[in-house]
């Protein structure tokens, strides 16, 4: 277990280092940063001055080393558009995105686990078919379109919820649904597949033969084992949710990391874009690391891998 954990940690560190190179290069190579800073229509002398001031005339490898050292020290530079410290900016927006990400994941779990269990226990019944139909339909619905439909229904027609902003809990209801519904179908399918497999196994037959109540068989013996792969998927899906939050936060003007990323991209504020990209990637690396270790802990067979 310890050896596996160390190996897995090593891989995570390597991936993090690789991602930092990509995040750095991507925004340096896909456009002239000096031009972006100096602004459209700047004179050549000004651009040259900007290049010198920001050290953009040095070799890329030196720039990368410099950027990495400062990033590791927690100095993410200054935002070109917001004119503030990037680290402070991100620390300010992160809680909103964290809230919306966790709410969406909980929403998806609250929907997918019961539906998955029901459709596995009653496999082939109308409940099973209905749940599958909902899953197929849900995955075809574009999230931004669904968000606008929710907005039209709950804010305009019914007037139950505020259209946009992030001041009260009511502002989080629609974004949670709009972000969470998309990850529900794959989770539901995984719960169903896991439950079908577990319910057909020998120890479940034994448990039934012992005369345990159906509820005890399904939940205590079945669900516990079927949930192992769901843990892994949930971590990966949280990574997806962070990416999807860019679209959803922008629509609902939720003042989080996703909206910040969108603003930084449209204003060519590359220190912010870079920092958000790196942060989201690191969160994903950390989540998959935790989920792999958790899985290894829950399933002893995986500890030797």
């Amino acid at each position: 277990m310890l050896l596996y954990a160390l190996k897995r940690l090593g891989l995570a560190l390597l991936v993090a280092a690789f991602v930092s190179v990509v995040a750095f290069l991507l925004l340096r190579l896909s456009g002239d940063a000096a031009l972006a800073i100096a602004g459209e229509g700047a004179r050549d002398e000004d651009i040259a001055l900007v290049r010198r001031t920001y050290g953009l005339d040095r070799p890329l490898i030196v720039q990368y080393g410099d950027w990495l050292l400062r990033t590791l020290a927690g100095d993410l530079g200054q935002s070109l558009y917001f004119k503030t410290d990037v680290a402070a900016l991100i620390a300010d927006k992160l809680p909103v995105t964290f809230l919306i990400g966790s709410f969406s994941l909980l929403f998806a779990l609250a929907l997918s686990v019961p539906l998955g269990v029901l459709s596995a226990v009653y496999a082939g019944s109308w409940i099973d078919r209905l749940a599958l139909a909902l899953a197929v339909a849900g995955q075809a619905l574009p999230n931004f379109f669904f968000a606008l439909v929710l907005m039209m229904l709950f804010s305009i027609t019914l007037r139950w919820l505020p259209v946009s902003g992030s001041d009260t809990w009511a502002h989080f209801v629609m974004p949670t649904i709009a972000l969470g519904y998309y990850v529900t179908p794959p989770m539901m399918r995984l719960v169903r597949a896991g439950m079908v497999e577990v319910l057909g196994s020998d120890y479940i037959r034994t448990a039934r033969a012992k005369g345990l109540s159906p509820a005890s068989v399904v939940f205590k013996h079945g669900l516990r084992n079927a949930l192992v792969p769901v843990v892994a998927l949930a971590a990966v899906q949280l990574g997806y949710l962070l990416g999807g939050s860019i679209v959803i936060e922008t629509i609902f003007a939720l003042d989080g990391l996703g909206y910040l990323a969108y603003q930084s991209i449209t204003h060519k504020d590359f220190p912010v874009t870079q920092a958000v990209l790196l942060l989201l990637a690191l969160i994903y690396v950390l989540l998959t690391l935790v989920s792999d270790l958790l899985n290894a802990f829950l399933d002893p067979r995986m500890r030797v891998a």
Binding site: V136, A140, L141, P142, F145, M152, R189, G239, I246
Partner: protein, 297 residues
Amino acid sequence: MSDAVILPIETVTTKVGSPAARMAANPSVVTGLLLVGAVVAIALLAPLLAPHDPYAQDLTRRLIPPIWHDKGVWFNPLGTDNLGRDYLSRVLYGARISLLIGLSVMVISGLIGTALGLAAGYFGGRTDLVISFVITARLAMPVVLVALAVVAMIGGSLPVVILTLGLLKWDRFAVVMRSATQQVRSLDYVTAAEAAGASRSRIVLGEILPNVFPHLIVVATVEAGSAILLEAALSFLGLGVQPPLPSWGLMIAEAKNLMFFSFWLIAIPGTALALLVLGINLLGDGLRDVFAPDGRS
């Protein structure tokens, strides 16, 4: 192993009947094919079906509602947009953009991902280690964010969006092809081909690829649907294809400020998108059931 009788092993199919017959009997495949076929027909026949030029503006005929509203007129069955362009014509032509995106992104990412997956699965060892690492690193970076940033830097246009998404979305191809190749690799017919002295490229392309092909088709359909949704999302955010192209995502973006009064401007392209992706996903789901009935996960 050497004296074993080599039989053509069906690795993934277990049900009886030819694949074509099983597809025709699968409701998901049939519904999916009907939906996708309808959109393909619309895209190909758009010049014949569209009542007007999708780009022609007429500011005297702005925001006419669709025919099912009281004020609707048959001259513009689905009404007109903010610039007086015929909405039906724009929706019909929009099918071309979504299909073009889905198909070309699928081909580009499919080629990259399949090559990586086959190499990792067949050669194993160090090759597998390096490729698995690259896949993990790619998965760590959120597609939407990277695509938005790249398109914003280079400038939005159809070829840029296609290339960006194609170069980003190969991960699922690589993951699935890698594990499928690993399963096939140790089967007898591959060992036999190796023993017979077949070249590596011949084994990979002639023996392995045809046998992992069903998996490839299933991933390809899923990825085409996801690429179409991504283009729509990018265009919706203003960082995908640019006006005046009738991309369904862009049409929703252009109508966003009018949604409180003219929600049909959003509902029509949104429904078109959902139906196309529903068709593609149904097709993918059905094909998975046809090829691998146990793999409903």
